[in-house]
């Protein structure tokens, strides 16, 4: 595995995320139907189809515009809360990679952090509110720590994926304070959050896209 992520590698990561979501979309719909409207699985499918179309269409070696196009394509999904949130994750990453031809471990971690900032600009949801923020924030924190302590790209992705999965799992015991599931109040406790689970699949897919042994 390479020590730098250029457009080819980023495309592989993105396709990995799409594949992982596609393999798990039924679960996502089921989780959303507990307190939400059950559309999260199909919305994520549409989002990933748009993502792949943008990756296919991307030409040249511009990381920033690859991520911008992916973000814009996901924003273009008529997907309730998911489109803007997930779209802005990639739009945020795009801004952070301005001027980079490739990303090393800390640049990737920084890009993830900017992505999360893009998401958090859209919502007041905080960690603990049972939303995708609960998977995003630990994933990005883990990526930052690993990069700071000198970990390589693969370790960054591996730790981010593990933290996202743990963060998503932890939403099971939370009560939803954002999104449609907020309306069922304490009844939301006991089921993991759909959006957080999506994020955990996305990070798992990033890893698989880069490391076919993962």
């Amino acid at each position: 595995m390479t020590n730098a992520i250029g457009c080819t590698e980023m495309a592989a990561m993105l396709r990995g995320a799409a594949a992982e979501i596609r393999a798990n979309h039924e679960l996502l719909g089921k989780l959303d139907s507990v307190g939400g409207d059950g559309d999260h699985g199909t919305t994520m499918l549409r989002a990933m189809a748009n993502l792949e179309k943008a990756v296919d269409a991307a030409s040249g070696n511009d990381l920033k515009s690859l991520l911008y196009d992916v973000g814009w394509a996901i924003l273009g999904v008529d997907g309730g809360a998911t489109g803007p949130l997930l779209g802005m994750f990639f739009m945020g990453m795009s801004e952070a990679v301005e001027g980079c031809d490739t990303l090393d471990a800390s640049a990737l971690a920084a890009a993830f952090e900017a992505g999360v900032a893009g998401v958090r600009a859209q919502t007041k949801a905080q960690p603990g509110d049972k939303t995708m923020v609960d998977a995003l924030v630990p994933a990005v924190m883990a990526a930052g720590c690993t990069a700071e302590s000198g970990g390589d790209l693969l370790s960054v992705l591996r730790d981010a994926a593990a933290a996202a999965a743990a963060g998503a799992a932890a939403t099971k015991d939370m009560q939803a304070r954002f999104g449609r599931a907020r309306n069922i109040k304490e009844l939301s406790i006991g089921t993991p959050d759909a959006g957080a689970t999506s994020v955990s699949f996305i990070f798992a897919g990033f890893l698989k896209g880069m490391d076919t042994n993962a």
Partner: protein, 333 residues
């Protein structure tokens, strides 16, 4: 689950529905660009344009209110899902004019995010757009906490009065003021008596126990909390009206628009019984049912139930409510 619906392929549902919708209303609406619903006879460019966005599956809302004296452009999303910012920006661009654009947004997380992202982009492009956010669902929480309150069928009165003001040539700020005054004086409560199915997934979107009703259920089947035994039309009217009047701190002498929005399988007959009781109750309190609208405005598929929306009216709002309009789902002569 086998749905009792007449459908084709789910992935084509919204597209085919929109094609049928404009075929049903050929003199009134058309599709433009990325499936924006627009007026066949556009308003003159020196008047403020009204734009809204929202998920599909609630027909006739919201695109059914595109027309003279109402909306200029509606951006329909997927089933129960807000359209993404790119199409919304396109709508704001299409509506762009010196007189300005009034952007009506119902408070649901996806709609708000998409609207705000699109507004930001539009403003960067120099588009003169101002937003009114509707959040009149009293089941979300107290009036002091508007973010928690959803936008329900009360979007219609806001569209109606602001649309009339725009048609009269009033400025963007005047249209916004009228919209905000209507919004600030509205309160809505939803009642569900039977569930529905999601037309793409077939999932049950509200599971209401036999013989029960749910007060405060959202328009996508989000649970509401107030599950209780099914009451009579009169008792239901009493419970709901009391909560709404309380929220609005209504006083004797107040005049109201009373709008009963059937959400699907509840009949006009039932809504008329409820309206009758609301009229009696208001009269007993020295208040007035000054205007009424009863019908299917913002539906939730075949769900049983209705939304009761009341709006305090002043003379100006009354005149704007009465002004002529001509849209697929509402025509006033």
């Amino acid at each position: 689950m086998a749905m009792k619906k007449l459908l084709n392929k789910p992935e084509n549902l919204v597209q085919e529905m929109l094609e049928g919708f404009v075929l049903a209303n050929p003199g009134k609406v058309a599709l433009e660009g990325a499936n924006l619903v627009v007026r066949v006879a556009p308003k003159s460019k020196d008047k403020v344009a009204l734009v809204t966005l929202g998920g599909s599956g609630h027909e006739p809302a919201l695109s059914g209110f595109v027309g003279e004296g109402m909306l200029d452009i509606s951006v329909p999303g997927e089933i129960f899902a807000a359209p993404g910012p790119p199409r919304v920006v396109e709508a704001l661009r299409a509506a762009n004019r010196d007189a300005g654009v009034l952007f009506i947004v119902l408070n649901h997380a996806g709609d708000v995010m998409s609207a705000n992202l699109a507004m930001g982009m539009a403003k960067k492009e120099g588009i003169n757009v101002k937003q009114v956010l509707t959040h009149e669902d009293i089941s979300g929480g107290p009036r002091s906490n508007p973010e928690e309150r959803r936008g329900l069928a009360g979007a219609l009165p806001v569209i109606k009065v602001a649309g009339a003001a725009a048609e009269q040539g009033r400025s963007l700020d005047e249209c916004l003021a009228v919209a905000e005054r209507m919004e600030a004086n509205m309160a809505t409560l939803a009642l569900a008596v039977s569930g529905a199915t999601h037309p793409s997934t077939g999932d049950v979107i509200a599971d209401i126990p036999e013989g029960m009703m749910v007060v405060g259920m959202g328009q996508h089947g989000e649970a509401g909390g107030g599950t209780q035994p099914l009451k009579s039309a009169d008792e239901t009217a009493e419970i709901m009206l009391a909560a709404l009047l309380d929220d609005l701190q209504a006083k004797a002498g107040d005049e109201f628009l009373v709008m009963l929005n059937g959400v699907g399988s509840t009949t006009l007959m039932e809504l008329y019984l409820v309206l009758r009781r609301v009229g009696q109750l208001l009269e007993a309190k020295g208040m007035k049912m000054a205007r009424t609208l009863v019908g299917e405005i913002l539906t939730v598929q075949e769900m049983g139930g209705f939304q009761m929306c009341i709006g305090r009216l002043d003379d100006e709002l009354k005149a704007l409510w009465d002004a002529p309009c001509n849209s697929p789902a509402l025509t006033v002569k």
